[in-house]
């Protein structure tokens, strides 16, 4: 079953702080989505609203057409995990896993056991006694083995070292292939995971600044290098993200679609067009600056 997720003018405010600001978004579901944003950009607030941990201040969010807040039929389908575990420090890891098994209709115990082994999770320890990596591992096991139709990993990898993170990406991809469902992964370690994402959303200061298929978004960022005057002529009319100058040479970063004609024009003007990685594009789209023209 695929549940669409829709936000319409969604706003979350804590006192004077606006965490999510009139955000509208539609996810068809059944895909792996990447949610990128800087620290404090509103990623967790948005995901918490989808998962019914937070009530919208104004606007709406729906999952499968229904408002998830205080709606058990919907929240049972949503699994939200982060780098710390929503359990008491004195709880044993084994008990946390048993609870998930009782509450999660699609829980796969055999898969959970394999993951516990792979991530070397100490099931007899108390949650409070786990290392940071151990807490992340417990979150990841809960998120994967729940097989919830909507599974959300909110920087769940934070406490993990690189080998464990790569093991997580591998498990996520293979389990998604075997059991397709909606997965949202929030991260700022973009280069490690971007090839896993079918679509990417970028949020900045509570607003959605981009939502595209990953390959499309990747092709949107272009660096233009060449003689200053020619670069200026070429980038006029495009969204300029940044520029650097070295003597008479200029490198400008633009965001948008280039036609074949644009590309041919650049070549004949002696300009070099270069690709930009998703991480670099993300940095440009979310850095501190006045909004681009």
């Amino acid at each position: 079953m695929t549940l669409a997720i829709e936000a319409d003018g969604l706003t979350l405010r804590y006192g004077d702080t606006v965490a999510v600001d009139h955000l509208s978004l539609r996810l068809d579901g059944g895909k792996i989505y990447g949610l990128l944003g800087r620290n404090g950009s509103g990623k967790t607030s948005l995901l918490a609203a989808i998962s019914a941990f937070r009530r919208a201040t104004s606007g709406t969010v729906t999952v499968g057409g229904a408002v998830p807040f205080e709606n058990a039929a919907i929240t049972r389908q949503i699994c939200f995990v982060r780098d710390r575990v929503d359990a008491q420090d004195q709880d044993r890891v084994r008990c946390v896993l048993q609870l998930a098994r009782r509450l999660r209709p699609n829980w796969d115990q055999g898969y959970a056991d394999r993951l516990i082994k792979r991530f070397d999770l100490q099931v007899n320890k108390r949650v409070g006694a786990l290392s940071r990596g151990g807490k992340s591992a417990l979150s990841v096991v809960l998120g994967l083995a729940s097989r919830a139709p909507v599974t959300i990993f909110d920087e769940a990898y934070l406490g993990m070292d690189a080998p464990s993170r790569y093991a997580f990406y591998e498990e996520l991809l293979d389990d998604y292939i075997a059991n397709p469902r909606t997965v949202i992964v929030s991260t700022h370690l973009i280069e490690e995971v971007d090839k896993l994402f079918e679509e990417v959303m970028i949020i900045d200061r509570g607003r959605l600044v981009a939502h595209e298929e990953t390959d499309t978004l990747r092709s949107r960022g272009v660096t233009v290098t060449g003689p200053s005057a020619a670069v200026d002529r070429f980038v006029a009319g495009h969204t300029l993200l940044g520029e650097q100058r070295l003597g008479g040479t200029k490198a400008a970063t633009i965001y948008g679609e280039l036609s074949d004609g644009d590309r041919a024009g650049a070549r004949s003007a002696g300009l070099e067009l270069g690709p930009m990685g998703l991480q670099e594009l993300f940095v440009h789209l979310t850095k501190d600056r006045e909004p681009a023209r």
């Binding site: 090839k195 994402f197 990953t214 390959d215 499309t216 690709p275 930009m276």
Partner: protein
């Protein structure tokens, strides 16, 4: 494995074409499924599917329902013909313009190609 130079699906299609050109993949030979490919290269299965879909559209691969995807007969010949057309445009023309810029007479270039120093 993949870089940022072009869309990933494009790079997947190009890689399979290379395998056909080199003979690593023969005519009527079955290619990996999109899921196998995605799992092997650690990429999203929809991205892999897009690359395979392009190859089917171009007639490089064909589908057998319920079995999988195979290399089309004559795929290699077709790819070779395309590559030959591009050879003059992309390889020879580049050599000529570089030689002109460096002031190397084209007769020197031709002599070199024909084996005389």
């Amino acid at each position: 494995m993949f870089d940022d130079r072009s869309p990933i699906y494009q790079q997947i299609a190009d890689k399979i074409k290379e395998d056909i050109l080199s003979g690593a993949l023969g005519e009527d030979e079955q290619v990996m499924s999109t899921n196998q490919y995605a799992s092997f290269y650690r990429i999203n299965p929809a991205t892999a599917a897009k690359g395979f879909h392009q190859l089917i559209e171009e007639g490089v691969l064909y589908k057998r329902r319920g079995i999988g995807m195979f290399v089309s007969p004559q795929a290699r010949d077709k790819l070779l013909a395309e590559r030959r057309d591009r050879f003059f445009e992309q390889v020879v023309d580049a050599v000529v313009s570089e030689a002109r810029m460096l002031g190397i007479p084209l007769s020197d270039v031709v002599r070199r190609i024909e084996g005389g120093r």
